[in-house]
Symmetry: C2
Subunit: 302 residues, 2 copies
């Protein structure tokens, strides 16, 4: 096939690793290469990257149409601006909920000026979960929607615990307890000489934890407890006109970075079908994310 979509992966952490799989599994895509930090290029590349071009700048990869930004979320704005300005589409899974609307507006201007497309927050939450919440809202407009996360690791909460004095390494698990409330199960590996009781108190008073039921346990080796599984339950009870008690629920149990990489891959495809600008997932027709002939998709899935 001549016209495969030329994709680059920027960043090779959890999500980047899975993105190699998801891009290579897509029948309509070609992985042009991976962009890593200069420092990491001095080392031997991992075995699974043999045969894949690894560079330190996207400009070294010819003909890239879409870049999957698999960097830490805070670096996304910087990379997106630079790559969009080079006329290359970007897809990210930016996950800071209260800043994504502003990021989109900012990238929208840059993308329009350089005839490129950004798909912003193309993960599962924000992302596909947002689509579900919006659908529930237009299907039964009056009512309440709860998003219950877990069980699974919260990156943000784990990082917050890592920053507390005396903590060598930490893991914070999010456990759903219904109606959008969550229990925090925190596992800490202490630095030599640290006092567990003090660490526990500091965690429970941290702004990330102070409002939630939080349990802290000391363990020998946090890495032994870490898996990439996650989940969500989104529940809505509302009314359609005067018909009450319309109940809807969406549930997933998933490998977190793999699903994120897969959604970003679908969004890369969709990016090529939008006019220049920046989009969240709810601004793009569902069919644009899918592989295949549109009329065949309508015939088989609608």
């Amino acid at each position: 096939m001549e016209n495969k979509i030329k994709v680059a992966i920027v960043g090779y952490g959890n999500i980047g690793r899975y993105a190699v799989d998801t891009v290579q599994s897509a029948p309509d895509m070609e992985l042009v290469g991976i962009v890593r930090r200069k420092e990491s290029l001095h080392n031997q590349q991992p075995n699974e990257l043999s045969g894949i071009k690894v560079v330190s700048s996207i400009s070294e990869l010819p003909g890239v149409q879409v870049a999957l930004l698999c960097t830490p979320t805070r670096s996304v704005p910087e990379f997106a601006k630079e790559i969009l300005a080079a006329g290359i589409n970007t897809v990210d899974s930016y996950d800071i909920h209260n800043q994504l609307a502003d990021l989109r507006l900012e990238l929208d201007q840059i993308a329009k000026a350089h005839k490129s497309v950004a798909v912003v927050s193309a993960g599962w939450d924000p992302g596909t979960d947002s689509i579900i919440r919006c659908m529930f809202k237009f299907m039964a407009p009056q009512g309440i929607t709860y998003t219950n996360f877990g069980p699974g690791m919260s990156m943000g909460h784990s990082v917050a615990v890592n920053a507390i004095a005396g903590v060598e390494k930490a893991l914070s698990l999010t456990i759903p307890i219904g109606t959008g409330m969550h229990r925090r199960m925190v596992y800490v590996q202490l630095k030599p000489g640290a006092d567990f009781a003090e660490v526990e108190k500091a965690i429970k008073n941290d702004p990330y934890f102070i409002k939630d039921e939080t349990h802290v346990q000391q363990v020998e080796d946090v890495r032994q407890l870490t898996d990439m599984g996650h989940g969500v339950v989104i529940e809505h009870k509302g009314s359609s006109g005067n018909a009450h008690n319309q109940r809807m629920q969406f549930t997933m149990s998933i490998n977190n970075p793999a699903l994120t990489a897969q959604i970003m891959t679908a969004a890369a495809r969709a990016s090529l079908k939008q006019p220049p600008g920046a989009y969240t997932l709810i601004q793009i027709p569902i069919i644009d994310f899918m592989y295949g002939n549109p009329d065949d998709i309508i015939r088989s899935l609608v």
Copy 2:
């Protein structure tokens, strides 16, 4: 508010009745009137329609922007063509799965020629369920999706039983038994002198029933058993790249015609944001179905 969307309801059966509620509940819409068959205009209109203009042709309603086609599904193509040709958008919940792709292509030409928009099959299945099936497919492309309907009345199956000799009135309930298989619970009220054993045999051999586990019971009065509740469970197990066992499920328990009317109402709003042509729900961005300022929606729900 000056610029409310002017909506007409065409047909006043199960869905049309609920559409009066859902259109009147939408803050951005105005119900201009209801189009009914000429014959029904000779009768006294039901109380709930007092104050609402009821006419026999949409041409008697000035300024209509969108018509919700709440007629029997088989009449949808005829009404849609006529109304689209008058430059008025249409929304239907056409539910014949294997014909909707062709209907869309046909209406697409008429809509483009007359600068109008058709939203085709804007119910829950086909409709919002189709969106969910497509999402599951792009989130975990390899794998199987099962759609399990019920418990709830199947209109098509009930009509098929009504056509069998000796049947006065019938109700066929769809019961989900997993992996997309369904049990049919059929309740029949017989005509005087009809033989139950013969009716039962005829039902079980009918093409609508022959492949399914079917149970037939004789009852005195079918109407006593009829409610408008329905439901669905859509389940998907698949892989994202090489990550297997990605599990997703969508469940609803709903008032069937009320949900259909609500989705059609949302689609009426969306129709005004599309270029001329005919669309299924998967071809329209989710945000277009929603009431409110797009940037506010992105800030609150994404």
